[in-house]
């Protein structure tokens, strides 16, 4: 059962109004939850059905009818008396007396307003056109206008939307403040490299969303690259199973230098040498955003620890250096994860922490 806040997020996603972090959250939710995908698909279908409703035209005479009615529209309708004349006269006299008395009292008691300065810009700016865009509230005038049917090709929107929906949230993520890099650009002398280097100097923790083609080897390839950089990677069995099936998994990496991150990302974009054969990299693009408090809370939940423990391990390992763990997106308390948590090194100032989500597709 999806939470209300998730439902709201997903309806806003359908409306296409999400930006930045919210959009990213929606993508993450869609990646992780079949229920959310089903929900969005249905909303998209319904929206498409409304959009596909046939359009009709009014008859050409409609315009002429409106024009013919225009002079009438400027006339003021006679006001019917609400009470019988005999009562009306008596009540009117009483009302006039009361109003006269109130008016005299007000004139004597209330101080006079200062004359309005016509050149006062504040007064002018405050309400320059008090009558502007007022909505008329008169009752509807019934007319007899037959409405003909005008043929229109109904677009087959629904199937397209249904087909497109999965591709849509597997697209590289976009964000107002995020940086996105294509792995292919990072493997060569490209401005993307210097942009990445500059970006890595801005924060001490990042959230990376990586999209990759699914060949069942994404985690294996990641581990090989980590090995090259002397980073031990602990792998939760469920995360391994996810990776093998082409499903999302999360990697938390800490105590890693900026240069090493650049090197890892660069290496991930290179061909995968599998013995004598060389396979083109499956890693496509990475969206880099700062590691928000929401990310922190989410990661803590996945690892089953609190924010303090994330910052500083209760019993830090004596050894220094980087460490990483791969977990499923639903979190894990497996023996492997517990072992990793018990052997985490203390945080080294000046190094980076990364929460990496890998989305094979």
């Amino acid at each position: 059962m999806l939470a209300d806040r998730h439902l709201e997020l997903l309806t806003a996603f359908v409306d296409g109004v999400l930006t930045g972090r919210d959009r990213e959250k929606a993508h993450r939710l869609l990646h992780e939850s079949a229920e959310s995908r089903d929900f969005v698909r249905k909303l998209q279908e319904n929206a498409a059905r409304i959009k596909a409703l046939p359009r009709r035209k009014l008859r050409p005479e409609f315009t002429a009818k409106v024009i013919a009615a225009l002079p009438k529209a400027t006339q003021t309708a006679p006001v019917e008396p609400l009470v019988k004349p005999s009562f009306a006269w008596g009540k009117a006299i009483v009302a006039a007396c009361v109003m006269l008395a109130v008016g005299v009292a007000a004139f004597l008691a209330i101080p006079r307003p200062q004359p309005v300065d016509p050149d006062n810009p504040y007064l002018l700016a405050k309400n320059p056109h008090p009558q502007e865009n007022e909505l008329p509230r008169d009752p509807i005038v019934p007319i007899d206008v037959p409405v003909p049917v005008v043929p229109r090709k109904t677009p087959a929107v629904v199937p397209q939307v249904v087909e497109g929906i999965f591709a849509k949230f597997l697209e590289p993520l976009e964000s107002d403040y995020a940086e996105r890099f294509a792995f292919a650009d990072l493997t060569k002398e490209d401005p993307a490299r210097s942009r990445l280097a500059a970006e890595l100097k801005k924060e001490d923790a990042y959230h990376l969303n990586i999209t990759a083609k699914n060949n069942g080897r994404t985690l294996e390839r990641l581990r090989a690259v980590f090995d090259m950089n002397n980073i031990p990677l602990t792998i939760d069995p469920q995360a391994q199973a996810n990776a093998a099936k082409g499903k999302t998994f999360v990697v938390y990496l800490e105590n890693v230098k900026q240069d090493d991150v650049a090197s890892i990302l660069r290496e991930l974009g290179r061909d995968d040498n599998q013995g004598k054969t060389s396979v083109k990299s499956v890693f496509e693009s990475v969206l880099m955003t700062s590691f928000s408090s929401t990310d922190r809370a989410h990661l803590c939940k996945l690892l089953g620890i609190d924010a303090k423990q994330l910052e500083r391990p209760a019993t830090p390992a004596a050894k220094q250096g980087s460490a990483a763990v791969a977990i499923p997106p639903s979190g894990s308390a497996s023996a492997e994860v517990r072992k990793y948590l018990e052997s985490r090194p203390a945080h080294q100032p000046g190094t980076l922490r990364l929460m990496i989500e890998v989305h094979p597709h």
Partner: protein, 184 residues
Amino acid sequence: MPRDDRDLIAASLTGDSASFGELVRRYQDRLFNSVLRVCDTAEDAADVVQEAFLHAYQALASFKGDSQFFTWIYRIAFNTAITLKRKQKSAMRLNAGELGTFEPADPSDAADPGHAMQSAEDERKVHEALQRLSPEHRAVLVLKDMDDMKYEEMAEVLQVPIGTIRSRLHRARLELKEILEKAS
């Protein structure tokens, strides 16, 4: 070259009814199609559209162009349609006979009666589902999904804050989903 809305409005204000007629021609069908889904019947929708243009003509001198003429006329029409719907609420008039006024609009339907029936059936289902929503919820769905309006434009048309548009759309989509699921 088609004349700008502002030119037509200026000419209308000098008494040139033909210019106002051009404005009517320009927007009547788009307005009618949107209002049609807020009202029960095509006849009601036509009444609302005509009334909206008459009101707009009366108030044209007060239109200063801060918003687009189209947004303004939409605002008048939707306000009128929602008011009408509220009045009719006590006597729901939705029945199969009235939906009969909505003929299949796709020319290919003539060659493919099966498809025509399916289209008409789907239209009937969606139209009925929309009619079961409140006028406010119906209005946001029509403006968003039929007219591709942004939240800002919808807020201007319906004269409510953007946050209200967002929450109304959310509730409207959930409600419509439930109604359509039950119907199928």
